[in-house]
Structures are given as structure tokens and as C-alpha cells.
Amino acid sequence: MADVNTGGDGGHGRHQKKRAKKLPTRIDMTPMVDLGFLLLTFFMLTTTFSKPKVIELTPPVKTNDSTKIKDTLALTVVLSGNNKVYYYNGELKQDPDSNNINLTDFSDNGIRKVILARNSYVLNQLAPLDQQRQSQHMSDTVYDKAKQKIQGSKYALFVIIKTDSIAKYVNVVAMLDEMNICNVDKYALIDASKPEELMIEDYNHKHNIK
């Protein structure tokens, strides 16, 4: 298309003389190509395709009625400064000798292991479903519905995430992320109470943690 009517360079040489009074209209396209690629490079480098990802959070509307959770299903996690995570099962025992409270971190062998161990009911129920989906015997919508039902079941683990006054935002996000990874759908995000702070202080004192 660009080489419009060049008249032919080779084989038709003889015929050219007869009809070619027209000048060959060959346009040098190099500058245009240069410009084209310059613009292309510029827009490619400035475009950002990936939108940031989000964690959806729906905090409960504040009410005064409290729901009691079965001790065996409750896991309380207290986030503190320096990436420290304290946790205890069931109810807080305010007896310092009970060794109710424990300390862990955000590594794979840390809080995730604790949650996964406690969340075995959901994980066991989910395992066959995962298999079926992987072998493509189950559509995503069916899977999601079934998963939601299992995660919301009354035997599912309930995690209470508490934060003290020096907790960092990054730890809260990490914890919400763990909920996602460990298939925990039932969790609440609240402030640490005074007895918990005292027990943590006590724990730190006992184990010489600053």
C-alpha cells in the first residue's frame, strides 16, 4: 500500500518507458514509524493495567447485645506491636498460672498453623469439594455456595481478632488475610480488653519479652 505505483524495478523495465511519465510516489515511512513506536513505548510505560486488590471488610453495626460463642469453637487472637500475636482458646483464664495465653508470629508456622489446626472441621468438609473442583466435576458457583455453607456452619471456628493500642495496620491486614487463607468466615475485629492486656503484660514479664 505504501509503495503506490512504483512502476516496478525489474522485469517490467521495457514496458516502463511506454507508460511511465508518472513519478513513482514512494513515501519514506521511516519517520512515521519512529514516531509511532515512540508513542507506543510512551503509552505502554505509563499505562497501569492492574488495579489494586482489596480486602472487603464489613464491620458489624454497633449494638449492645452480645453473642456468646461456645468455648470450644472460639479462638481469640490479640495483635500487638512488633508483629507479635498472642492467642488463647476459649475463654480467657485470669489465673496467671493457667498458661492460657501463648505467643506466636505471622510466619507460616506461626498463627496460620494454630488456626488451621483449630479449623479442622471446615477444612475436612472442604477437602472433597476442592478435589471435585480440581477435577472439574463442580462449577465455581456451586463450589462457592457449598463453601459458604460449610464456613458458616455452627461447628465452624470463630476467630476473635483483638487489637491493642500499639497494633499496626499491616498486622490487621495480615490477620484478615490469614482468615482468607485458612477458610475462616466467622471472625470479629474488636479492641483488646483490660484483662487481656494485663495477661499479656504478665506473659511478657514471665518470659522476659520486651
Binding site: L39, K53, E56, L57, V61, K62, A174
Partner: protein, 219 residues
């Protein structure tokens, strides 16, 4: 038999398809690019494995590592209405009503984090002046004493974008309701984030999107 003479000509390649392709790509990138105003505040967002994308039509509240709060809302028309409301109701704090020119400037401005008292100055500032103001500001006040200014922005902004959504939904039923995103620095104290979320909850907002960047899931 005479030898067949090979025609000597410069090897010319037809570049047309390449040019076509190049310009096709240029057009594509030109149309998909959306230029953003420079970020008023630098925030290092935490990682997560979440796959949910940030929706459109979103109000973003940024919190930097020292706990300063910045506000940003999508939509030029709603921004104009918002600043007009603020200008009418808080002219005393602003030091007089804002001019039409200020309102137009505000409508195309990105995130900001100045109290009412400095807002006029910030709107009228040029780019480099804004940079210094952004570095000096303490963010939008979130304490109820003397006055919780973020609550005003959130309340008015939410109401306006809601009514805007109702209007637009009549024409375009797939339009999503306005969302609130919290873009906080990982090192920000959770207390500040919680306070911001509380303020938003009081304004009637129930869902929040915590902006994170993607991390590959480890198996």
C-alpha cells in the same frame, strides 16, 4: 543464452503492516491510559492474597505512616456539589466562601489532606506549593475536638455520591453503588484506621475496601 541478470535494487520491505500494527497499539494505549494526578501522599500498602479488584466510583481515604488522613472522591460533578456544600456550611472556618474558580479547581484536584483553614490556600496553590503544603500538613482533623472535619467530608460526600448513583442507575442499571476504600500505610497505627472506619460507620457506610497489593499465594 545470455545470462539472466538479477535486477539490482535495494531490498525494500513493505512496512505497512508494521505501521498499521504500531498505530493500532498506540491508539489502544492512548484510549486505555488514564492519567492520574500525582499522589498527594505516599503510602506503602500492605500485601494480601485477595483477588478482588478495586471497584470504580470509589471514595478513597488515605492514611500515611504517621497517621495523617487524606480524602479523595471520584466524579467531577459530585466533587463540585461537595465543595459547594462545604463552602456554604463552613464559610467561617474556610475564611470566606470559595469563588467559582476555586470550586472548579477543586473538582479536578486529587487527594487532599488539609484542614478547612488551609483549604483555600491549598486549592489556589500551584503544583510545587501544594507539595510543600502536603509535606507540612497534619492531615484532615479526625478528632471531635475542636471539630471532626473528616466526618463532614465523609457524610456530605457519601450522601452526594449516593444520590448521584440513584440518578445514574435509572439509565444504567448495572452501575455499582459508591464504595469506600481505605488506603492505609502498613506502618500506620491501627487505632487511626479504626477511628476513620468509625467515622465512616457513623455516616452510614457499612462496607469498606482495604486496599492491598497482591502477593502470590504460597502452597
Amino acid at each position: 543464452m545470455p545470462k539472466v541478470k538479477l535486477p539490482r535494487s535495494s531490498p525494500s520491505i513493505d512496512m505497512t503492516p508494521m505501521v498499521d500494527l504500531a498505530f493500532l497499539l498506540v491508539t489502544f494505549f492512548m484510549l486505555t491510559t488514564k492519567f492520574r494526578p500525582e499522589e498527594a501522599v505516599s503510602v506503602t500498602i500492605p500485601f494480601s492474597v485477595s483477588q478482588t479488584k478495586l471497584p470504580d466510583n470509589v471514595t478513597t481515604i488515605s492514611i500515611d505512616s504517621s497517621g495523617r488522613v487524606f480524602y479523595d472522591m471520584d466524579g467531577k460533578d459530585t466533587r463540585i456539589q461537595l465543595i459547594q456544600k462545604i463552602s456554604d456550611n463552613y464559610s467561617a472556618q474556610l475564611g470566606g466562601k470559595l469563588s467559582d474558580q476555586d470550586i472548579m479547581r477543586f473538582s479536578v484536584m486529587g487527594a487532599f489532606g488539609v484542614p478547612y483553614a488551609q483549604l483555600k490556600q491549598y486549592i489556589e496553590a500551584n503544583e510545587s506549593e501544594r507539595k510543600t503544603l502536603n509535606a507540612q500538613t497534619k492531615g484532615i482533623p479526625i478528632d471531635s475536638l475542636p471539630h471532626d472535619e473528616l466526618a463532614d467530608w465523609v457524610q456530605y460526600g457519601y450522601n452526594l455520591s449516593l444520590s448521584d448513583w440513584y440518578d445514574k442507575k435509572a439509565k444504567n442499571p448495572e452501575m455499582l453503588p459508591p464504595r469506600f476504600a481505605v488506603k492505609a500505610d502498613g506502618n500506620a497505627k491501627y487505632e487511626v484506621v479504626k477511628k476513620v472506619i468509625d467515622i465512616c460507620q457513623k455516616a452510614g457506610i457499612q462496607h469498606f475496601d482495604l486496599i492491598t497489593s497482591m502477593k502470590m499465594k504460597k502452597n
